[in-house]
């Protein structure tokens, strides 16, 4: 059967929306599958609901969030078919997508596929990270965006990175007391980042924004501890306090909610399941798909745009989405190479300019040593409750790679399919065996990458055959 769509886009964040708008304008029969109930992705989550129904929350969320309004408006007006509440559980080399929504599971076929699945917050294993009351900072920020909810217990932030400081500032603006920010960043990071500062200054307002945030946090007198290590969340059935080391001593602090953040990494689950070729990005110690400057992966017809191709941030993602759409239009015969180059030129310039900020941010916020090498008692796989010690023991028994460790310990076999443990398992094996992470590799990701019930599989509507 012939493909139902010219272009299938996965993900409704800035890259996906921007790509859909451009692609539809070229007359491409475009569909966008979005797991969320409304467009915006995580960064502009629930922006229509906030702008339309809870405008009081807009000042707290700040001017960057507001940028999403125009993006979503343009997307809503375009001719692309929007499928909210739809998960993609499979992508084949033949460009068949397995999707599932409230109506069940089906396979669709597209002539070209653009993945814009964004980022996920870097998993940060520490003792107690599975306790109720420990969440990612992005999770709590998502609650503010989607439901207008704020913490009503003492909040401790742990980790580092722009989103952590942004959300701490947003909480302070909203009148929520923040007990402390426990930052793993060390002085050496500033030294390492300094050479990249001029480029970051040229990239836009990234550095100025950061300084404004820090000043805002100082005005609210939120205590910031730097060089924090050996962090633990303590409590029985939920977090009651935290312990950490700083300046050579161990400190304790009461906490009702611990918000963790240590940057974001590309969400490669779908590209890894195909599998497209990936590379290890050293500065952020994470995988990303190998692409050409147009977002093409090594597999024909599969393209990526935005953070799922390597972290660039929301503003870069908009340009990356448009660039990808021009390339898709060329591949689908709507544009010549010259036309693509001319049309994409302004976006390519803007995209490159935004990316100038990354080396500085990457060097300033590397994952902390404790995150890369947790002690033996720390749980690494949240789903199957496998400790770092069990993973190291499996390596010593002959489980030389992530897939062998997975078979032996069940790490990565649970429902999250290694999203929360994959990077750490690669780091642990690399350290145990004295190898580089890229030599160790990662889990083979198996479909369905989002769960499908037996009944849904039994009723699979396969229109591609």
């Amino acid at each position: 059967m012939s493909p139902q769509y010219d272009l299938a886009i996965v993900g409704g964040g800035p890259a996906g929306m921007a790509a859909a708008v451009r692609a539809a304008a070229f007359g491409l029969h475009t569909v966008l599958f979005d797991e969320q109930p409304a467009p915006g992705g995580q960064i502009y989550r629930a922006i229509e609901a906030v702008a339309g129904g809870r405008p009081q929350d807009l000042p707290i969320l700040g001017p960057e969030y507001r940028r999403g309004i125009a993006l979503v408006e343009a997307f809503r007006k375009c001719d692309a078919t929007y499928c909210p509440g739809t998960s993609v559980w499979q992508l084949t080399r033949e460009l068949e997508l397995g999707i599932v929504d409230a109506g069940g599971a089906r396979m669709v076929h597209a002539r070209h596929v653009l993945l814009a699945t964004g980022a996920l917050e870097r998993p940060v294993p520490f003792p107690g990270w599975t306790l109720p009351g420990v969440m990612t900072a992005g999770a709590a920020q998502g609650l503010l965006k989607a439901s207008g909810m704020l913490p009503d217990v003492p909040v401790v932030f742990y980790g580092g990175g722009p989103l952590l400081y942004q959300f701490a500032w947003q909480l302070a603006q909203a009148g929520v007391p923040v007990a402390a920010i426990l930052d793993t960043g060390r002085r050496a990071n500033y030294v390492a980042a300094a050479p990249y500062l001029p480029a970051a200054l040229a990239a836009g307002d990234y550095v100025a924004k950061g300084l404004r945030l820090l000043n805002g946090i100082r005005r609210h007198r939120i205590p910031i501890m730097r060089g924090v290590s050996d962090f633990q969340a303590l409590g029985n059935d939920r977090v009651r306090e935290v312990a950490y080391r700083q300046g050579g001593t161990t400190h304790h602090m009461a906490a009702g909610l611990v918000l963790v953040h240590a940057g974001v990494v590309a969400n490669c689950q779908l590209t890894q399941s195909v599998p497209c070729r990936h590379e290890w990005y050293g500065p952020q110690r994470a995988w990303r798909p190998v692409t050409d400057p147009w977002g093409n992966t090594d597999l024909a017809g599969i393209q990526v745009a935005g953070d799922c191709g390597g972290i660039g941030g929301a503003d870069a993602a908009v340009h990356a989405g448009r660039i990808a759409a021009f390339e898709a239009a060329r591949r689908l015969g709507r544009l010549s190479g010259d036309q693509r180059d001319t049309l994409a030129h302004p976006d390519r310039l803007a995209w490159r300019r935004h990316l100038l900020a990354r080396p500085f941010l990457d060097a300033l916020y590397p994952p902390s040593p404790g995150t890369l090498a947790p002690d033996d008692a720390t749980l690494i796989c949240r789903c199957e409750e496998v400790t770092a010690g069990a993973i190291r023991a499996a390596v010593r028994l002959g489980g030389t790679g992530p897939n062998q460790v997975k078979s032996y310990t069940r790490a990565g076999m649970g429902p999250c399919q290694g999203r929360e443990c994959g990077l750490t398992v690669t780091e642990i094996i690399a350290a145990e065996r004295g190898l580089a992470p890229e030599a160790v590799g990662t889990y083979r990701i198996r479909p369905p990458i989002k769960p499908l019930t037996v009944g849904q599989m039994a009723g699979l509507d396969d229109a591609t055959r």
Binding site: G398, S407, P415, V454, A458, L460
Partner: protein
């Protein structure tokens, strides 16, 4: 200068079992594995330890192997997660019930009494939650299932404790016979030993050809699904007389669904892709036989590469073409249960020149002159 007494090509279950059985008898063993131990069928297997429904030629081996399974943890000093929770084969129609009776009569006529007929009441007692359409079936009490990768590693580790050397990441490129010795040329140099064992699984046909025993084999990707963990509700492993099904609850509580639906093998990358029509059929079988499974999540689907032969039984025994070479490969998707005994048979053949178990049916040259196609060249 020999690198070992015996070189075993292939670090899967069968290679590691042969290595253990030889090393524990003080034979110096070198295992050459082109990827990592247990890379393909030995970790992708669904883990059934089954005598039920075996080809008549395999029954004596399976009977001897189950004895080993029941003391395997002790023998190997490791937990293989073997549970003797039984195997059941379900009949859904009167015709299938008749076929069950005929099957049990056949095994009795061969002198075995492990397979017993069960009626509907007994079936429901053994397999609660089975659909009302089920009529009865065959039951083997002392069968069960185990954890394939842990079993393979247990053999490997036990072999290494007895002095075996296992080299991973060593791909065999060519094999030469010199005077009283085998020269194995690999991408990591040349290795020599007087005796050679081919336990190369789906790639065994290729190794057999290097030895001079070209045989028909083909690589097949057998598909499986595993669900989220459930509360314990199923003891025995369930198969079907009329449908492709292997259904069990693992030690962790997940349901493992197999049965023989095939995906696609990509020989160059040694990867597989799934055929969703097959997975759909498999899910339909499960949801029809076990209606309460409909809302249970499938967490993962995969396919493992296994070697098949034209008559669906493996190659076991000495080379026809050359002295001091032995085969143990292409187990056609049911070699897991046989792992412990076939390693012992290979060791007996090497050390005593003969096996006490009948292996004539598995001889390497049984298709000679039949015109069965040779499809050995699958790894490049």
């Amino acid at each position: 200068m020999s690198d070992a007494d015996v070189i075993i090509v292939g670090g899967g279950l069968h290679g590691c079992s042969a290595a253990y059985n030889l090393a524990s008898r003080r034979v110096k063993v070198l295992v050459l594995e082109k990827h990592v131990v247990g890379r393909h069928a030995s970790s992708a297997s669904a883990g059934g330890v089954r005598r039920l429904g075996r080809h008549p030629a395999e029954i004596p081996l399976a009977m001897a192997s189950i004895e080993l399974w029941h003391r395997l943890n002790e023998l190997l000093g490791a937990d293989t997660e073997f549970h003797a929770s039984g195997q059941v084969r379900v009949a859904e129609t009167p015709d299938e019930l008749d076929a069950c009776e005929a099957r049990v009569a056949l095994t009795r006529s061969l002198g075995y009494d492990h397979e017993i007929l069960i009626d509907k009441g007994e079936l429901v007692r053994l397999v609660p939650g089975i659909a009302a359409t089920a009529q009865g079936g065959i039951y083997v009490r002392e069968d069960g299932h185990a954890f394939p990768y842990k079993t393979t590693l247990a053999f490997r580790n036990a072999a290494e404790r007895h002095g075996a050397i296992v080299r991973e990441g060593v791909a065999v490129l060519a094999i030469e016979r010199a005077t009283h010795t085998w020269r194995v040329l690999t991408d990591r140099g040349r290795f020599e030993a007087p005796v050679l064992v081919n336990a190369a699984g789906a790639w065994g046909g290729e190794v057999a050809a290097m030895i001079g025993d070209p045989v028909p084999t083909s690589p097949v990707a057998l598909m499986m699904m595993v669900t989220a963990r459930m509360s314990r509700w199923l003891g025995p492993t369930v198969g079907s007389m009329g449908r492709k099904l292997s259904f069990k609850q693992s030690e962790s509580g997940t349901m493992v669904i197999g049965g023989g639906y095939r995906g696609t093998v990509h020989p160059e990358s040694e990867l597989t892709s799934l055929d969703f029509a097959g997975l759909r059929a498999s899910a339909r079988t499960v949801s029809e036989l076990f209606p309460h499974m409909r809302h249970v999540d499938i967490v993962r689907c995969w396919a493992g590469i296994e070697g098949f032969t034209p008559d669906d039984i493996p190659y076991i025994g000495p080379s026809k073409a050359a002295p001091d070479a032995y085969h143990s490969f292409a187990f056609c998707g049911h070699g897991f249960q046989l792992g412990p005994v076939v390693g012992a048979i290979t060791a007996e053949l090497i050390l005593n020149g003969r096996s006490n178990l009948p292996i004539e049916a598995f001889r390497i040259d049984r298709f000679e002159g039949t015109g069965a196609a040779y499809r050995g060249d699958i790894s490049r």
